[in-house]
C-alpha cells in the first residue's frame, strides 16, 4: 500500500515543473505546423483547384465582368493544407502563425481580387490577368500580333479559325 504511494510520490517529485509559461514565454511552433493561410493575389490564376479540394468547402470564387474574387471563409478552416498542395502557382501558402483567436470570425476572411482580361472581339471577360501574363511570358516571339491573338476568347478563336479555313 505505502510502497505504491511512495513510488507515485517519487515519480511525481522527479518532474517538478513541466508547465510552459505561455503566453509570457513565446512558443516556437514545430516545423510542420499548419497555421494561417497566406494568399498571394499576384500569383492566383483563378483555376479553382483549391475550391474542389477543400474539405470544409470554405473557398468560393465569385466572378464579375471586371474581376474574379476568391473568398476564403477561413473561420471554418481546419488547416489541412490541401489547398496549398493543390495550387499550381503556389499562390496559397501555409504559415506558422497560430495565434488566431478572435471574437469575430469574419476577421479571418481572406478576399483576393484578380483582374479579368476581356476578349478583344466580343468583349467578354474570359481569362484572369495573371493567367494571361503567364501565357504571354511563355511566348517565344512576343510580337504584337502574337499577343493580340492571345486576347481572343475560345469562342472567338474558333470562329476566326473557321473563317480562316474557308
Amino acid at each position: 500500500m505505502f510502497r505504491s504511494k511512495l513510488r507515485a510520490l517519487l515519480l511525481s517529485s522527479r518532474h517538478k515543473k513541466i508547465i510552459r509559461h505561455y503566453p509570457f514565454v513565446p512558443v516556437t511552433p514545430p516545423e510542420n505546423l499548419r497555421g494561417r493561410l497566406e494568399v498571394f493575389a499576384d500569383r492566383c490564376i483563378g483555376c479553382g483547384n483549391c475550391v474542389r479540394v477543400c474539405p470544409s468547402r470554405l473557398i468560393e470564387i465569385k466572378s464579375s465582368d471586371e474581376e474574379k474574387a476568391v473568398i476564403f471563409y477561413a473561420g471554418r478552416c481546419i488547416y489541412c493544407g490541401r489547398c496549398a498542395v493543390s495550387c499550381p502557382e503556389k499562390a496559397i501558402q501555409i504559415t506558422h502563425e497560430f495565434e488566431l483567436a478572435t471574437d469575430n470570425k469574419n476577421d479571418l476572411e481572406i478576399i483576393i481580387k484578380i483582374k479579368m482580361v476581356k476578349c478583344r472581339q466580343c468583349g467578354k471577360p474570359f481569362i484572369t490577368q495573371n493567367m494571361f501574363n503567364k501565357q504571354v511570358a511563355k511566348l517565344e516571339d512576343k510580337s504584337e500580333e502574337n499577343i493580340s491573338r492571345l486576347m481572343l476568347c475560345a469562342e472567338c478563336k474558333r470562329k476566326s479559325q473557321s473563317r480562316g479555313n474557308e
Partner: protein, 545 residues
C-alpha cells in the same frame, strides 16, 4: 467450412469474392440463414441499409458477419420494398444486433417485427415521424419542423425500485449521455441508456456533399482521441473498392500513427480510471507521460491530434530520419515511466479493491454482445483485428495479444497496460524496418457501385467501415460502426449486480467514446428558441423519474 458453405448455398444464392462471401437472400430467409451463421460462431459486425428507392424502389439491407477462424466476411444482402420496408428482427437470435436494428429503423424507416426494444436510438425525441434522414430523398441541409409533442420513452422502474439518473452530461468523462440506473437498495438491477446527443450528420454529409478526397478529413473528426483510425479505415475501404495499391512506406507510416494513437489513448484511459477512483497523482502522472507522444505527433505532422495526413492513395507527409531518432528517445522514456506506472498500479491495494471483481463480463456474454478490443481480450476472447485481418503493415510485424480470463475492470486495466508495451515494441520494429519509397500514389478514377469492408483495431476495439462507391465522385453509402457501439450494449450485463458507487468506474472501463458511437446527428436546434426550465418543469421531470 464446406458444410457451412453448402448449407447456405442450399438456401440462397452465394457469391464468394476474395475474403468476402456475399449471400443474396429473400427477406423471409434471413432468420434461417442467421441461424446457420450463428452456429459457426460468427461475430455479428453491423447491419446497415442502402437506399435504392429512386433507382429500383428498394431498400437493401446488409448484415455483416465475421468468421474469425476462416478469416471470412459474410455479407448477407436482402431487398425490401421501399414503400413499406418490413422484416423480422434477428435480435432474438443475436442480442448484439439490437442497436443496429434500432438505428436502421430511425434512419431508414425499416420496421423490424418482433424487436424487443423498438424505441428511438439515434434520432432526437422531437424529430418528426416518417422522415428518415439517410434516405436519398432527404436533403442533407434541410431542416424539418420538429414535433410539437415529444414523449421521451424511458424504462420505468418496477415496484420498490429507484432510478438514479447520471447525465445528460456524464460527469467524469465530460461528455453528453444519459444513463439511468435502476437500483434496489445499493444494487443495480437494470440499466437504460439515452445517448446520441452528439450526432453530427457525418455519414449524410459525406454521402451528399463531399468527394472521396475530402472525406478522410471529415472521418478523422468522428473522434477526438482515436480519429486516425477512422480516416485510415475509410481510406482503406475506398482503396479496396477502387483497387488502389498504396506504397509500402505509406502503409508503415499509417501503422506508426495508429500505434502512437493507441499508446496515448491507453495512457489517457489509465489516467481517467485512476481519477475516477480518486488517485489523482496517478492521473496527472499518466497524462504527463502521455504528453511526449503528443509532442512527437506534432513534430511529425504539425498537429497534436487530428493529424490530417491520410488521403485516399497514401499519406501526405513523410517521416524523416530525424523524426525516427526523436521517436526512439520518446519510446525509451515512455517505456521507463510506463513501467513505473504499472508497478504503482500493481502494488496499490486500494486500486485492487476497487477494480477486482467489479463489472465482470464472462466470455459467453462477451461473445453474445460481440464486444471488441481490450474489453473482449480481458474476458478471454482472442480477437485482435491487427492479427486476424492484417491491414496496413501489420502483416509484416510480429506481436503478442495479451489475454486475461477474469473479465473484470482489473483485467481490462492489465490488458491495456500490456498493450502499451506491445505498441512500443511494434513502433521499434517499424523504426528499424521503415521501407523507402513514395508516400502516396495518384488516384485516377474510382468505379461506381463497388463495395468494400475495412477493419481497423482501434484502441477501443474493432472498428468497421463500409463503403459503396457512387457515380458522383463520392460514396453512395458510407457506414461506420465504432467499437464503443458494440461495447456499450454489453454495459447492461456489466452493470447488473454492481453497486452504485462502482457504476462510473464500470462505464469508464469500456473506455466509451461518445462521439465515435454517435457519428451522424442531423438535428439542428439552433433555430429553435432556447428552453428555459422553470421550477414547475423541473418538478415535473423529477416526478417522471
Amino acid at each position: 467450412m464446406n458444410d457451412f458453405y453448402q448449407q447456405i448455398a442450399s438456401v440462397a444464392k452465394v457469391e464468394p469474392l476474395e475474403e468476402n462471401l456475399i449471400v443474396f437472400a429473400e427477406p423471409g430467409q434471413i432468420k434461417e440463414i442467421v441461424n446457420i451463421v450463428k452456429i459457426q460462431n460468427a461475430r455479428f459486425v453491423h447491419l446497415t441499409a442502402i437506399d435504392f428507392s429512386e433507382k429500383k424502389n428498394k431498400i437493401e439491407l446488409n448484415y455483416f458477419f465475421l468468421l474469425l477462424k476462416d478469416k471470412l466476411n459474410i455479407i448477407l444482402k436482402t431487398e425490401l420494398d421501399s414503400t413499406n420496408p418490413i422484416i423480422s428482427s434477428i435480435s432474438e437470435i443475436i442480442p448484439g444486433a439490437i442497436w443496429a436494428e434500432r438505428e436502421c429503423k430511425d434512419l431508414f424507416g425499416v420496421n423490424f417485427e418482433g424487436h424487443p426494444d423498438p424505441r428511438r436510438l439515434v434520432l432526437a425525441d422531437d424529430w418528426p415521424d416518417n422522415i428518415y434522414p439517410l434516405r436519398k430523398n432527404f436533403s442533407y441541409n434541410s431542416k424539418p419542423k420538429v414535433k410539437s409533442e415529444t414523449t421521451v420513452e424511458l424504462k420505468k422502474p418496477g415496484e420498490g425500485k429507484t432510478v438514479i439518473p447520471i447525465g445528460p452530461f456524464y460527469p467524469s468523462l465530460e461528455e453528453p449521455a444519459y444513463f439511468r440506473l435502476i437500483v434496489e437498495g445499493e444494487e443495480i438491477v437494470d440499466f437504460d441508456y439515452r445517448g446520441f446527443y452528439v450526432h453530427r450528420g457525418i455519414e449524410k454529409l459525406a454521402e451528399s456533399a463531399l468527394n472521396y478526397q475530402q472525406i478522410p478529413f471529415l472521418a478523422e473528426r468522428i473522434c477526438g482521441i482515436c480519429g486516425f483510425v477512422h480516416s485510415t479505415a475509410y481510406c482503406q475501404a475506398v482503396e479496396k473498392a477502387g483497387g488502389i495499391e498504396i506504397p509500402e512506406r505509406a502503409k508503415y507510416i499509417r501503422t506508426i500513427f495508429l500505434e502512437l494513437e493507441r499508446l496515448h489513448s491507453h495512457l489517457l484511459w489509465v489516467g481517467l480510471a485512476a481519477h475516477i477512483v480518486g488517485f489523482d497523482t496517478l492521473f496527472m502522472q499518466a497524462w504527463r507521460i502521455r504528453e511526449p507522444v503528443m509532442y512527437l505527433c506534432e513534430l511529425i505532422t504539425g498537429n497534436r491530434k487530428t493529424y490530417g495526413i491520410n488521403i485516399v492513395g497514401g499519406v501526405t507527409i513523410d517521416v524523416l530520419p530525424k523524426h525516427l531518432e526523436d521517436m526512439k528517445e520518446v519510446l525509451n522514456q515512455i517505456e521507463k515511466e510506463a513501467r513505473e506506472i504499472r508497478e504503482i498500479i500493481l502494488e496499490d491495494e486500494v486500486l485492487q479493491l476497487r477494480f477486482k471483481d467489479v463489472g465482470r463480463l464472462t466470455e459467453d456474454d462477451a461473445m453474445k454482445y460481440f464486444v471488441g478490443g481490450p474489453v473482449a481480450r480481458a474476458s478471454g476472447v482472442e480477437i485482435d483485428i491487427r492479427a486476424n485481418f492484417p491491414y496496413a503493415a501489420y502483416s509484416n510485424i510480429d506481436f503478442r495479444i495479451p489475454l486475461r480470463k477474469e473479465g473484470d475492470v482489473w483485467a481490462r486495466t492489465l490488458v491495456r497496460l500490456e498493450e502499451i508495451f506491445i505498441s512500443i515494441g511494434i513502433l521499434r520494429t517499424i523504426i528499424n524496418s521503415l521501407p523507402e519509397g513514395n508516400t502516396s500514389t495518384k488516384v485516377v478514377k474510382i468505379e461506381p457501385w463497388r463495395e468494400a469492408i475495412s477493419y481497423v483495431e482501434a484502441p477501443r476495439g474493432q472498428l468497421f467501415h463500409y463503403v459503396m462507391t457512387g457515380p458522383e465522385g463520392r460514396p453512395y453509402r458510407w457506414s461506420v460502426r465504432a467499437p464503443s457501439y458494440q461495447n456499450y450494449q454489453a454495459l447492461s450485463v456489466l452493470l447488473k449486480g454492481g453497486s452504485i458507487a462502482d457504476a462510473p468506474l464500470i462505464i469508464a472501463s469500456i473506455d466509451p467514446c461518445f462521439s465515435c458511437t454517435e457519428r451522424f446527428e442531423v438535428l439542428d436546434r439552433k433555430n429553435k428558441k432556447v428552453d428555459i426550465y422553470t421550477a414547475k418543469d423541473l418538478r415535473k421531470c423529477l416526478e417522471a423519474n
